[in-house]
């Protein structure tokens, strides 16, 4: 019985993964841009990006998801629920990823920038070749935490009708009258997915760790 349930819900896995794979990189690109602007930008850029982070992180993800969803699937832009939901999750995550990356950028001592400038690098070159490679390494462990949060938050697009794991579990629960088994199977699948995301990123952290860097 459980195996039947698992195989039906399994078809939702690809959508859950797809939502995550759109949201996470979108949030990373946006978050990295914001973090750079917040760390190296002028006064106004700093204030604006800080305000963005504050507002976005002050509202529950599911509320933001609904606001963004209705904006992205309205008259001006009209995305499918899948794309609207995924992009919205990415935008929500960007504020959290910005904070992670900002912390990592700030943890690189100012001397690194000075030394890079001293051998003739421009500010941009120094950020690209010296600051970012160090900051991104530092950011991997907290970022891996954010990755599993986005994966778990992808279940919120259930509410938009996107047929991902939870939505499939709910359909199954309705047709079979076996909610415990249906949602239990969904929980199990999420658990395994989150587990693999964490392990995978642990491996990445170990691979990129410098021999002298502490865990």
């Amino acid at each position: 019985m459980l195996s039947n349930f698992l195989s039906y819900i399994f078809q939702g896995i690809s959508i859950t993964i797809a939502v995550t794979l759109v949201a996470l990189p979108a949030g990373l690109v946006l978050g990295l841009g914001l973090a750079l602007v917040n760390t190296y930008g002028g006064v106004w850029l700093k204030r604006l990006s800080a305000l963005y982070s504050l507002l976005m992180r002050g509202v529950p993800p599911v509320v933001l998801l609904f606001i963004l969803y209705f904006i992205l699937s309205g008259n001006l832009v009209n995305l499918t629920p899948f794309w609207a939901g995924s992009v919205s999750l990415g935008v929500i995550s960007s504020a959290y990823q910005m904070e992670i990356l900002r912390g990592a950028l700030l943890s690189i001592s100012g001397g690194q920038m000075v030394a890079a400038r001293a051998i003739g690098m421009s500010r941009l070159q120094a950020i690209q070749h010296i600051i970012l490679p160090q900051a991104l390494r530092i950011a991997i462990p907290p970022w891996s935490n954010e990755a599993s949060i986005v994966l778990k938050d992808s279940s919120l697009v259930y509410a938009l009708g996107v047929p991902e794991i939870l939505r499939r579990a709910q359909q199954l629960s309705a047709t079979t009258q076996q909610p415990l088994l249906a949602f239990g199977a969904a929980a199990l699948i999420y658990f395994v997915l989150v587990f693999f995301v964490n392990r995978g990123l642990d491996v990445l952290a170990k691979k990129t760790r410098l021999p002298t860097q502490h865990a």
Partner: protein
Amino acid sequence: MDSPILQAKNLTKIYGQNVIFQDISLDVYRGETIVIIGPSGTGKSTLLRCMNLLTPIDSGKIFLNGKEITARDANEDKVRQQIGMVFQNFLLFNHLTAFDNVMIGLSKVKKMPKAQAREKALYELNRVGLSDRADHYPGQLSGGQLQRVGIARALAMDPSVMLFDEPTSALDPELIGEVLGVMETLSREHMTMLVVTHEMGFAREVANRIVFMEKGSIVEQGAPDDLFYRPQHERTREFLWKITELYGKKEEKS
């Protein structure tokens, strides 16, 4: 001697209300090793940082090979490629091996072809006696080795002047020698060097000229023998007396 390679004219640096140094003029000639000495907090390090534009000056002009580098249209990045700098706290790039620390300026700033950059980086590491530490990360090197990599990194850019900002003051005493040794060799090879240090032995033996700075201005300058044995100013005499009290005795013992 020909015209100076690096020339500072009436430099002044002010932080808020604090005058760091005022009206400093200094000519550095090709192949010269100049050692700047003086009490802590007299603006020696700031002066060095201003010389390669890492810290902006408030007034005055700096010329490199006769061209004003403090001019508005001067390309700071280009200028710094020609002026090497060695830092008190090394400031190696933490995510790169010793080899890559030396090479990154060549490949990313000078855009040198990979093979050529590699060869050059190895040559410079060899020059400071560290070719066997090429693949070590900064965290795996001793202070003396770190500083020698720092010197190699600066040398790799083929600068016309090298600035040393207290290169040995963060080192354990037993590691100072290896760094000073590299610097002495450089000096003998006629690298143009401007060195801020408290190592009086190095100043006496290696420098062509010694500049004594106090409270933000140059009090006196001259050949080591003149300055050490026939100082013209009372303040120079006092400083040298104090510093030999402090460091001289240690030197005699070791």
